[in-house]
């Protein structure tokens, strides 16, 4: 998580630019390798329950969070590991949470779908599709009322376009000019159904009908995401009203870790295409090398470090104790 201050309109300082995009690369790699470990834990039956992997969509979370400040808020989804990490959470406590350990972000009570962290402005992942649209908008309301200059970002999948409450809160956000950005991660599928079968009309049209400033961006291009997000965040922070960002992306894995046989709803070719041609990490790596910001070795080094970090984090989580049973009755009331 950087405190991004650059303005896409202004000519950027090359050194800080380089730092920013290397950081973005590192963040994407960390997310990818985090998810690798998650899948491993699941496959080895070491993780309770299921998890929804973010691999393939890294540029969205990272691009958006690189446009945010530490104190800005986010809300996240069932597919939330990427948002958490991009906003600054540490993998050890995340893995601990995924394993239901006391050292986890939620003392083990939340699990994969409910990681929350006040220190990084993470209001929480949400297992209800569209369940956090009100929460993010409310955080933006409070930010505006308290005048603390914060912005709230609401991440959701394109499946949440089916939830009416999204339209209720977009209307309110626009009426009240709230500093909120709705980020629609369009990865083409609502679970096992292609979004075109569930989505009439147009996505941007829906946000624009409520007066929101809305843009679509290539969600595999971290720089494009970051620039679009920064524009909308800057606008929102300045009191000019909410924004809506559709990021077109793809999830490499199944809907959840257990969704292995996917051919009845999408082809191997399609998956192959995205992985080989549209991978956000590879695309960004090429760009970094082309720009002379990095070479293969330095990028490899980033991956080595990130993998080591994740392995350590998993070790920490595996060794950490479960909460003791009496804790089950704690935290019901504040």
């Amino acid at each position: 998580m950087t405190t991004a201050t650059s303005n896409p309109q202004a000519g950027r300082d090359r050194a800080s630019d380089k730092q920013l995009w290397i950081h973005a690369y590192r963040q994407m790699v960390r997310i990818r390798l985090f998810e690798e470990q998650v899948n491993e834990l699941y496959t080895r039956a070491l993780m309770p329950g299921l998890a929804h992997l973010y691999s393939g969509e890294e540029a969205v979370a990272v691009g958006v969070c690189e446009a945010l400040r530490l104190e800005d808020y986010i809300t996240s989804t069932h597919r939330g590991h990427g948002h958490c990490l991009a906003k600054g959470a540490s993998p050890d406590r995340m893995f601990a949470e995924l394993l239901g350990k006391e050292a986890g972000y939620c003392r083990g009570k939340g699990g994969s779908m409910h990681i929350a962290d006040p220190a990084t402005g993470n209001l929480g992942a949400n297992a209800i599709v569209g369940g956090s649209v009100g929460i993010a908008t409310g955080a933006a309301f409070a930010a505006k009322r308290l005048g603390n200059g914060r912005v709230a970002v609401c991440f959701f999948g394109e499946g949440a376009l089916g939830q009416g409450s999204l339209y209720e809160v977009m209307n309110l956000a626009q009426l009240w000019k709230l500093p909120v950005l709705y980020v629609c991660e369009n990865n083409l599928y609502n679970e096992y159904t292609h979004y075109t079968e569930t989505t009439a009309g147009t996505i941007l049209g829906r946000a624009r009908a409520f007066g929101l400033e809305a843009t679509v961006v290539d969600g595999q291009d971290v720089r494009a995401v970051r620039d679009a997000a920064l524009r909308l965040v800057t606008r929102a922070r300045a009191g000019e009203g909410p924004g809506f960002l559709e990021a077109d992306t793809y999830r490499y894995s199944g809907h959840h870790v257990g969704d292995i046989n996917r051919e009845y709803y999408r082809s191997k070719q399609e998956e192959h295409y995205w992985k080989s041609e549209r991978d956000p990490i590879q695309l960004h790596a090429h760009w970094l090398m082309k720009q002379g910001c990095a070479d293969r070795d330095s990028l490899d080094q980033i991956a080595v470090e990130a993998r080591a970090e994740m392995v350590e984090a998993v070790k920490f989580a595996m060794a950490a104790p479960y909460p003791s049973t009496h804790q089950v009755e704690e935290d019901v009331y504040a």
Binding site: R107, G138, E168, L172, D331, Y333
Partner: protein
């Protein structure tokens, strides 16, 4: 000095005004809460003092603005949400139950949701089935929520202040037929802790556990019973969660006969929970089965003679109490 009297609506308004004065984080979201002061006029005058920045008129988006209140509560405000009729909470159940009630727990205690949802309950207003329900049992069922049911102007003010100061999501039900009820309300600041029942009338022969407007019905019934030499105790839990089981059991053990009165449906409702608590906790002291009285198990009809038949009245309660005591006296 004569006691000051306020109506129930005035007591609610005063509680809100005092809390808004003393805590700038308190704000109110709802439909027509500002200039109109709500259709029940409960909030009249507040916008003049606190401005439209704090009395926030919303579109007819119960899910939307309740969700916004949840987020605002997490991030530094103390919102009070106004849901005009209790029937409309059906539209905000995800926000209250999946979100507000669980966020503190799911986050391992890291986030808090200090908000109040005020709404109404109660029939006999000739408003028919979609404007007459008393759905407080649903919220009472959900861990993470507190549920308040004031029965007098005094309680309304003191309990609402406590609810606003509470660190948890609290659902506050006002019987819309009680807004004009008058009663003494001191001018000084006071709050009534959530979870403390009150004996509204002391008696020996039978206990009437009653909530919300049924407290008034119970008190009326107790007067009728007195004329028939039956001494009824009326106890008001005031909150269904936390529930003051000790106070209720003490009264049940004292009188050994109990009727539980609640305006919601009895079936799978508040009266059944309280009856079960008493039947379990005062098992060896009861002289008769605990009787439950609540709304008749029908959608509330519009037609006046039908609607009137759906709710317990002083007379039906008195008759039930007499029948229970006759057996035993």
């Amino acid at each position: 000095m004569p006691e000051r009297e306020l109506t129930f609506a005035q007591a609610v308004r005063e509680a809100l005004a005092e809390e808004m004065r003393h805590d700038p984080r308190v704000c109110i979201f709802g439909e027509d809460v500002a200039e109109a002061g709500t259709p029940f006029k409960v909030l009249s005058g507040l916008v003049e003092e606190f401005g439209p920045e704090r009395l926030i008129d919303t579109p007819i988006s119960e899910a939307g603005f309740t969700g916004i209140a949840v987020g605002a509560a997490m991030t530094g405000l103390r919102p009070v949400v106004d849901i005009m009729f209790g029937d409309f909470v059906t539209l905000a159940m995800d926000q209250m139950v999946n979100q507000a009630a669980k966020i503190h727990y799911m986050s391992g205690g890291h986030w808090r949701v200090p908000m109040v949802l005020r709404t109404t309950l109660g029939a006999t207003r000739r408003s028919a089935a979609q404007h007459s329900q008393s759905l407080h049992a649903w919220f009472s069922h959900i861990p993470g929520l507190k549920v308040v049911l004031p029965s007098t102007p005094y309680d309304a003010k003191g309990l609402l202040k406590a609810a606003i100061r509470d660190e948890n999501p609290v659902v506050f039900f006002e019987d819309k037929m009680m807004y004009k009820l008058k009663g003494p309300v001191p001018a000084e600041d006071y709050a009534i802790p959530l979870g403390v029942a009150e004996v509204k009338r002391s008696g020996d022969d039978i206990t009437l556990v009653a909530t919300s407007s049924m407290v008034q019905v119970a008190l009326g019934a107790a007067n009728l019973l007195e004329k028939q030499s039956i001494s009824a105790e009326v106890i008001d839990p005031r909150t269904t969660w936390p529930l003051d089981e000790a106070a209720i059991l003490a009264s049940a053990k004292k009188t050994s006969r109990v009727i539980v009165l609640d305006e919601g449906y009895g079936r799978y409702g508040v009266a059944s929970e309280i009856a079960a608590v008493i039947a379990e906790g005062a098992f060896y002291d009861l002289d008769a089965p605990v009787k439950r009285m609540g709304a008749m198990q029908v959608p509330i009809p519009f037609s006046p003679p039908l609607e009137d038949a759906t709710v317990p009245t002083e007379e039906t309660v008195c008759a039930a109490a007499r029948a229970m005591c006759k057996h035993q006296l």
